[in-house]
Amino acid sequence: MSKEVETMMIDAGHRNDLGHPLDYRELNRLIREAICAGEERLVLMNVIGQRYIASATSNPNTRIEIHGTPGNDLGAFLNGGTIEVFGNAQDVTANTMNDGMIIVHGNSGDITGLAARGGTLLVKGNSGYRVGIHIKEFEGVGVKLVIGGFVNDYLGEYMAGGTILILGQGVEDSPVGLHVGAGMHGGRIYVRGPVEKHQLGPGACLAEMNDKDFKTVDTLIDQYEKAFSVEIDRSIEYSKIIPLDSRPFRGHYDSTTI
């Protein structure tokens, strides 16, 4: 039997005398104080749009469960620990995440994973525009983004590293929008389903899946299946998108001394 971990509950929807729910500053202060006091498992109930939850959390043992709808910038600058949302997340989830894990049992909004360079983000449902913009990798470790449904335009824009997997569940045709990988110069995007050449942005190209790719995809799907207790049909054909060049703007500039 695993060690019993005490759970601390915070009611984020608790109304004050004026009928207002907990202010985001107050909520985040409570979370920080709890983590500082050694609490490892936090449950936030009735979350109602409070922003910046758990930003800059660093302790790898911290586990934050969120019930309700967290606001923008959930888990920004996250450096360790796990955040699990039983609901939808809003925009800029996992902003500049460095490490740790965010699991969303719902949809996430625009610019999910902006500039993240490490850790894992699993979204059960769909996500918005510019998902995984400018994500990176460093010393072989990159961020991993898995979106269960579809995403909108500009997936993986400016991408410098890391891995994106779009599972396209419940989507008949292509689960990604237009301008995929615009300006991308590193990393890889896997899409479970078709991607046409016209959907790609400048700097991106389609490539054949190899054994390593299938292994990466399998590992990510394992994680997804485990997180959401679902089963994914792995027989559907994948599209792989990689950068044409790690130096996309070579030749664009003239550095002659005039």
Binding site: A56, A115, R130, H134, E157
Partner: protein, 504 residues
């Protein structure tokens, strides 16, 4: 046949072969390959950029670098510069790169402004014998003092995070990548010794520099290079970079050749790939979005450090500044169009933006009108070359000035405008080990410290001469300035009287 036309040489070293002892130091010094050793003589090849490193190295003063005649028939409209740029573009088809600040004479207004001094009715102060305060506070002003029930000042409620500096000077944001490790080390050490701030630039912070973090201002730019929670919590303030005066509206682009181990580690990106900073922050499309980034940075730093915003001076700067202060910025940096850069498209560097003199006055006036000025620290940068520029800029409305190029000149930079080529012979704007090792950190540090110390003394001299005993009393004191330039409309916009106009 290649469609390449050679652009005429601009500079040419001449060697005094009688004085020359053939030590070949100059050949080693030249990182542009403009000197070679042939037939037992130092000979001149092509490509001299007038960085004058060879002159510095020559033990017998045998080298003079001359500017060559223009090699173009004179024309009043198509200047040699324009013709050179057109030839180069016809050769390459590329966007012309440049570096350092804008290289156009028409943009200078500091030279058209004169300072006041005290005579008879308001006695001057001797700063060598009487205290003249130059301590400067960076951060949001609470605007009020909260008194508790016992009549005592409630410090917790009255205090906001501030940074105290000994001079109204901040060394601007210059990233590791645009300059070398040694150059950044010297800037940071100088800031620590002077107890002023230095900007980290957007390239993150190298592990070795963390001990100096209390004198550093972290930059969060659109690329978010090297930005981690640890980094944000260690530094003394955080600056969101929206724009840079040398290239308003443009992103950053550190070419892959410069992304070697040191840079890759600090920026936390793969080796050898281009480090691209997107043109906009993709999470900021409005003042409300900016407010979110400010707030999340404050949350992430637990409200312990001031969070600021840096923008390039553009035409609507007053309204934008007002929005930024309303969005919660604790300090606001305006970077004028003459500001420096390690690399920027020439067309933007020389043509986009607004001189800092006008921008700082416009922002100061606008914030004042809206009742916001006393809430925020206003920093101004963009070719603050000397103490005189600094003093004029403060009187025009800035609390703090940002200085970069002058600090580089203190280190050895000769403003040859080749930073974007990555072969700086002075070891400043380069990542090549054989060049970076030329810059001695200790000497460079001392030289920067000396220069800013002298500026501060000059500031005190001027304050004393004006009969002002604290630099805070000079901020926005435009009545102590007079305009002497050709265009009285500029004086009107600056809210500065014309020379010859008194108080009444």
């Amino acid at each position: 046949m290649k469609p390449i036309v050679t652009i005429p040489e601009k500079y040419r070293p001449t060697i005094d072969h009688e004085a020359c002892i053939r030590c070949k130091k100059c050949i080693k010094a030249c990182s542009y390959g403009a000197l070679e050793f042939k037939d037992d003589k130092v000979k001149v090849a092509k490509g001299c950029v007038a960085c004058v490193r060879c002159v510095f190295e020559c033990p017998t003063d045998a080298i003079i670098v001359n500017e060559l005649p223009k090699q173009f028939a004179p024309h009043a409209v198509f200047s040699p510069e324009i013709r050179r740029s057109l030839i180069s573009q016809a050769n390459s088809g590329g966007v012309l790169l440049s570096s350092c600040g804008a290289n156009a004479e028409y943009m200078d207004i500091f030279n058209d402004i004169l300072l006041d001094a005290a005579q008879v009715t308001n006695p001057s102060i001797d700063p060598l014998r009487e205290p003249v305060e130059t301590k400067t506070y960076l951060g949001r002003r609470p605007g009020k003092v909260v008194v508790d029930d016992n009549g005592k000042i409630d410090l917790d409620a009255s205090e906001t995070p501030i940074v105290i500096m000994d001079m109204p000077i901040m060394i601007g944001h210059i990233s590791l990548g645009s300059i070398s490790y040694n150059a950044q080390a010297a800037l940071f050490r100088a800031a620590t010794q002077l107890n002023i701030l230095a900007g980290t630039g957007e390239g993150g912070l190298h592990n070795d520099f963390y001990p100096m973090a209390k004198n550093l201002c972290a930059e969060v730019a659109s690329g978010r290079f090297g930005v981690t929670s640890h980094y944000l919590k260690e530094v003394s303030c955080v600056d969101i970079k929206i724009g840079q005066g040398a290239k308003p509206g443009h992103g950053g682009h550190l070419p892959g050749e410069k992304v070697q181990k040191l840079i890759s580690e600090t920026r936390m990106i793969p080796l050898g790939t281009d480090a691209l900073s997107p043109y906009p922050h993709h999470d900021i499309y409005s003042i409300e979005d900016l407010q979110q980034l400010i707030s999340v940075l404050k949350e992430s730093t637990e409200y312990k450090v001031p969070v600021g915003v840096k923008i390039a001076a553009v035409h609507n700067v007053g309204a934008i500044a007002s929005g930024i202060v309303r969005a919660g910025a604790d300090f606001l940096t305006i970077d004028g169009l003459r500001g420096g850069t390690g690399s920027a498209p020439r067309v933007i560097r020389d043509h986009a933006g607004m001189p800092i003199e006008i921008a700082v006055s416009a922002v100061d006036q606008r914030l004042e009108q809206e009742g916001l000025r006393d809430k925020v620290t206003l920093c101004a940068s963009g070719s603050i070359r000397t103490a005189a520029d600094m003093i004029k800029c403060i009187a025009l409305g800035a609390d703090v000035v940002g200085v970069c190029t002058s600090a580089m000149i203190a280190m050895g930079c000769t403003v040859c405008q080749q930073c974007h080529r990555g072969a700086c012979s002075w070891g400043i704007a380069t990542q090549k080990p054989e060049l970076t090792s030329r810059l001695d950190i200790e000497i460079a540090t001392q030289r920067i410290v000396n220069m800013f110390h002298a500026w501060n003394e000059e500031l005190k001299e001027i304050l004393g001469a004006m009969g002002i005993d604290s630099v805070e009393s000079l901020v926005g004191n435009r009545d102590r300035l007079r305009y002497i330039g050709p265009n009285p409309r500029i004086a009107e916009i600056l809210d500065v009287k014309h020379s010859g106009e008194g108080w009444g």
